[in-house]
Symmetry: C2
Subunit: 338 residues, 2 copies
């Protein structure tokens, strides 16, 4: 990615898109395509990952005892909940579409507005968000400290008796870092297996490049590495009040700038956009073409791009469902209805 990224930074987005359309940037450098294969994750601390996996699936990190990380980032469903916006404590309607956790370690920041700089910072958010898990960090830590198996496991992993929220988010982030999806058919093609994708899928990729989609959706995560305005050529119509990046920077120029979502596993992560308004890939591709590129794709172009996007589904994380250590008699009981 490096040479491509430097080039892109120099030329600016639109110029790059034009160059991409001519194919001029592919002639040189080690990375002839603007999309790169995902590398498998190498686990360096398996015990920390295993602890993080338990925390990921543990609904006792919510006030109700009903909502876990996996409720809204369901690893059976592309790391998302496939809802327009998520369901929080007491069935509150979430403000924004739940982004997939898959390959999220490759993003430049977390949340649609990038308000968390990394996975660790992100992980603490939903636990304490009154509209999501509705707990507090203190209560979450108290819960874990009341369970002897958790206490022992934190000690084994971190080598101390602290059991702090920092250790909780470190473990969750370590688990999340494992959730990459290598080996998509498109990655096989990138690596030289020219039979890994069909003629239509290849045509879709060529249209995707030639139309300028790759200006934002590039790199190993096919996105996730920049903030861009939703509605460049034409304004995006939505009832969703989220204004994106400006909520973080306070700058008016950042209004409606959102983190470009990854297109990895996009066939699994419907519905699309920050408001979840597009139910299907054909709809999302059509909207993106018109609003971001001023281009109305023909039905054939749309179908080709959709076919290409489906080649970005990688190996889903294969994992054994964790068995959670039971609460002790001292563990404060969940309060779903209070």
């Amino acid at each position: 990615m490096t040479s491509y990224r430097i080039l892109r930074a120099r030329l600016g987005v639109l110029a790059t898109a034009a160059l991409l359309a001519t194919g001029a940037v592919y002639a040189k450098g080690p990375s002839p395509e603007p999309i790169e294969p995902i590398k498998p994750h190498r686990v360096t601390h398996p015990a920390k990952v295993e602890l993080g996996k338990k925390l990921w699936f543990d609904p006792r990190l919510s006030k109700s005892g009903f909502i876990s990380c996996n409720s809204c980032h369901n690893l059976s469903m592309g790391g998302s909940d496939n809802l327009k916006t998520s369901i929080g404590d007491k069935w509150q309607k979430g403000p924004i579409n739940s982004p997939t956790v898959l390959n999220s370690s490759l993003n430049l920041a977390q949340f649609w507005d990038g308000r968390a700089k990394d996975l660790r910072e992100q992980a603490g958010g939903p636990i304490a968000n009154p509209g999501e898990m509705a707990f507090t960090h203190d209560l979450a830590v108290d819960m874990l400290r009341s369970i002897p198996e958790y206490v022992a496991e934190f000690k084994r992993v971190f080598g101390n008796d602290k059991l702090s929220i920092d250790e909780v988010t470190l473990a969750i982030a370590a688990f999340e870092e494992t959730l990459v999806t290598p080996n998509a058919r498109f990655d096989q093609w990138l690596k030289g297996d020219k039979k890994a994708i069909t003629a239509q899928e290849l045509r879709g990729y060529q249209t995707f490049k030639a139309s300028g989609c790759v200006a934002c959706h590039n790199g190993p995560n096919v996105g996730g590495n920049s903030f861009q305005k939703m509605g460049v050529v034409e304004a995006y119509q939505t009832d969703n009040p989220a204004e994106g990046r400006s909520a973080v920077t306070g700058k008016d120029a950042d209004r409606f700038n959102f983190k470009v979502p990854s297109l990895r596993n996009v066939a699994l992560t419907y519905p699309y956009f920050h408001d979840g308004a597009a139910d299907t890939l054909p709809e999302a591709v059509d909207t993106m073409g018109r609003l971001q590129l001023g281009k109305k794709f023909t039905p054939q172009e749309n179908a080709d791009i959709v076919a290409f996007l489906k080649t970005l589904t990688g190996d889903q994380p294969k994992m054994v469902l964790p068995i959670l250590p039971p609460s002790s008699d001292q563990t404060r009981r969940p309060q779903p209805f209070e």
Copy 2:
């Protein structure tokens, strides 16, 4: 179990309890103890089980797209939700404590009041219950039929193109039948490993037998094989309006008769009783002693019985989290907020 069950049927519950207290029934027959080890489940149709597992974890069987079978019978948490009563569609408060799915194939019937004769009949219940998954069987089947991978998988498993709710519940039941928990330390002891349980745990078992607990909690599931009145010696005080078996039979004599819950994995399935009123095992043991047996256990007896009960935790089902087939463009989207 056979000889013990016949004997018990002949003598009646109270007489049996008295006999058990003397140890008289242990002298003869092939089964010297009233509790029997759980046998591992032998899968005869792995493809059906695998399909059932997907359905088990699929929240698209609910109106909201958020609640799956596993939401209330969480296989990370002893097959239960560890809540007093469950959370249903739109955060409705359930009427009764969610029983564990573990070893439920060994029960004489399903639900606390036994209104479903088997797992297959049970499985259809929550999907269409407006207070639980709030869907309809027709909509559930429509959803599955709109997903090509599900269509193909049902065809492979059942050899036809029907894809009916009967096939859905058959597959879920086939999966549930695999959810047995053999190899508890107590089962190891039953099979002759006298070091598998401690002196206190053995003392607890002896008190459990001598006090008459085994009159209802017996067989391989340590319960689950009869309906009994909640509050024999002393009435059970609860705000919960459930009246148990009488809702099924219409007989006044069946009021407050509930299916005796299994004590397998009871350390994981808190809180206890049909209303989930007892948060801890010491509390549940104390209440059962007083209300069912007219016996106030000493703190030592209570602690011993609790120690014994914890030996009933068996090997939890070890399973790879399924990856669900994605919805197609034709799949009706969930309606969590409508």
